[in-house]
């Protein structure tokens, strides 16, 4: 039984990492209509930026901030230089998916000769062990949970209580109407790429720290969990992504405790399939998700 309690504790850490990443991904989809398959590669690039700083003797917590800034700047430029021009040309969202896959392929393979194919680790103590009953966590893991909670609260505050957040929600619901109501949708989109890029970069460093050891190939692996969490909660829905992250994080750890751990992703994804059968739009649906194709 104590194993399940411990697994619950580990699930809290996993869900925190997934939530930071999935909220950024799903906001890109919800507001700018981009299924950005390069998201995982931006994450891993940010993780490497933090790695090189850490190697130069800088604390990983500062590296985390720099990683987030890098993710923001990179995502902003990626949109300005590649995605936005394509969208202005009238490329369909599907064409954009293909563009983003091409970017993802190019990023992974441009990074490979630079960072190498081997796994690396941040040089940072894990901190002491903290025991809460059967739950055993390190101070680093508790910090990761704390970061996730703060980030989620900030996103909540942004969306609910700021003009920018309201503009984002309006743009997400109906970009044409939003523009006609005087919302500068172009600037809103820029802000979205900066904010979600920062989440992406932060998530990259947090995920790398959480894994203790990471390599270039992890970029593609991150993306899979993120996709699952985003779709489970309802694609495009920040709160949905949070719920999706909680469920995926908990289910993978609890099923690793209950059955052979090689099936932990199978179980989590099985739950996802079940949700897709019962509620194809995800747990929280964006308004209009069930509308006719188009």
């Amino acid at each position: 039984m104590s194993l399940f309690v411990a697994a619950f504790g580990f699930g809290l850490v996993s869900m925190s990492v997934i939530a930071i990443a999935a909220v950024g991904f799903t906001m890109q989809f919800g507001i700018t209509n981009m299924i950005n398959l390069a998201y995982g590669e931006v994450m891993i690039s940010s993780a490497y930026v933090a790695y090189y700083l850490n190697k130069a003797g800088i604390s990983i917590w500062i590296g985390m901030v720099v990683g987030a800034l890098f993710g923001a700047a990179f995502s902003f430029l990626l949109n300005r230089i590649v995605y936005a021009p394509f969208q202005r040309k009238g490329t369909s969202y599907l064409g954009m998916v293909i563009v983003s896959l091409a970017i993802s392929l190019m990023m992974a393979n441009l990074l490979l000769p630079i960072v190498g194919y081997y796994s690396v680790s941040y040089q940072e103590g894990t901190g002491g062990l903290i025991r809460l009953g059967a739950i055993i966590l390190t101070t680093n893991q508790i910090l990761i949970i704390g970061i996730a909670v703060v980030v989620m609260l900030l996103i909540h505050g942004l969306l609910k209580y700021t003009r920018l957040g309201k503009a984002m929600r309006a743009t997400s619901a109906n970009p044409t109407l939003a523009r006609n109501c005087g919302i500068p949708t172009q600037r809103v989109v820029d802000a979205v790429w900066l904010i979600t890029g920062a989440l992406c970069g932060l998530a990259g460093v947090v995920a790398a720290l959480n894994s203790d050891s990471f390599a270039i190939a992890n970029g593609a692996a991150f993306l899979i969990t993120i996709l699952a969490a985003a779709v489970l909660g309802g694609a495009g829905q920040p709160y949905g992504a949070m719920i999706g992250a909680v469920l995926i994080g908990l289910i993978t750890e609890l099923s690793a405790a209950a059955w052979s751990p090689e099936y932990k992703e199978v179980v989590a994804f099985g739950v996802l399939v079940l949700v897709m059968v019962l509620r194809p739009q995800g747990l929280l649906a964006k308004r209009g998700a069930m509308a006719a194709a188009g």
Binding site: A6, A7, F10, G116, Y118, V120, T126, E253
Partner: protein, 439 residues
Amino acid sequence: MRGFERYKVVSAVGALVLFVACGGGSSSSGSGLGSGALLVGVIAPFTGVDAALGPAYYAACLAAAPSINNNGGVGGRQVSCQQFDTRGEPADAVPAANQMIASNSNLMAVVGCTSDEAATVAPIINLHHIPMFCMTGQTEFNKTTLPYFHRLVPADIFDAYAMVGSALYGPGHAPYKRAALVFGNDIGSQAFVAPATNAFTKLGGTIVINQPITLGASSYRTEVAAMLATKPDVILTEALGSAGTYLKEVKTQNGGQMIPFIGTSATIDPTWFQQVRDAIGVADLTKYYGGVDLGYSFSGPAYTEFQTNLNAAASTFADAPKYKQRGSTLHLYDGIIMTALAMVATNSADPTVYNPKIKDIANGTSGATVVNTYKDGVAAIKAGKSIRFVGAGGENNFDKYNNSQSGYIWVTYDNQGNEVKVGQMTPQQTQDISAAGGI
């Protein structure tokens, strides 16, 4: 019916071989060693998740080429190396192999062909009569009928026995009684589980947990908690790529204290060393790690030449010298040199002629002169002697399925990542474990 189906598969391969033997070889047969450059194809993953494998094999070729070229080449023909990326994907590997063969009529040998692509690539290379040296431990090649296939590394089960031996009889510790098996759920790794379980259990140990893990997962916390709850004395493991993440978690949850872990011969690898060192620290790695490897001496004239050339290759491939103790790099180096010697010995650039000679040169026929370098080999051949090549990786003993077997030693790492021998099994122990394991 089963027998019939089997016949169909085997006969298809056999007939293909016969056909190319008649058609394909005619261009170069009987005309001595010919002229022009020769090529060694390195067909392996250079991109994708297994991108770490290709460079280790390419390094072997970079070292072997000057050994041959600086000593007259193969009858004056210079050897060069070329990489062919399978992208770690069996369907992409098929055109990679076909393109390699179509674009290069001067292939003398092919090296690489890992478990990612051996199943699709080996039959194609065999069809075109090019000797290949494959780095796969897959069971399906234990009794392969492909005559151009060579394997200089033992099948995975022998690794498993050596690990069990290390746990039971290894130096510096009382016999471990409680072992946890932590293997990736890829096929290469899972092949260790059954023989290790059989051998360890029959010899009085207990497998407290057999934990197949998903490779590449972002964390293994629950897995480690479950594993530690069974209180093992030792972990037997191969979880390539995820070793750093898993082992660091062991250390963290066990209150900063590692437990001993024994790795397969695939853990003798510079990238594995670096990954685990960075994750758990060099002190714990050297103290708690035990590995198994083929009995390399890392000395002698063959090894010296190998290392000199590998260091010189740093001008084109900066990481090449790191592979100085990687078994597959050593073996592929030997494979390329043996192929060149077989060509000289048969005075032929026709693989149908020189391919069978590779086995003779590796195993040695009675009265053969032992040589350690290409230069000495050529001299001995010129003097009319038959030779046995004992190279950088030591002796080779091909069985009738072109699988080479040799004995294991127990090893660990020093602080710089150099392999250090700590002991080896006695013949009696080897026999006991093999009997208990069921082979």
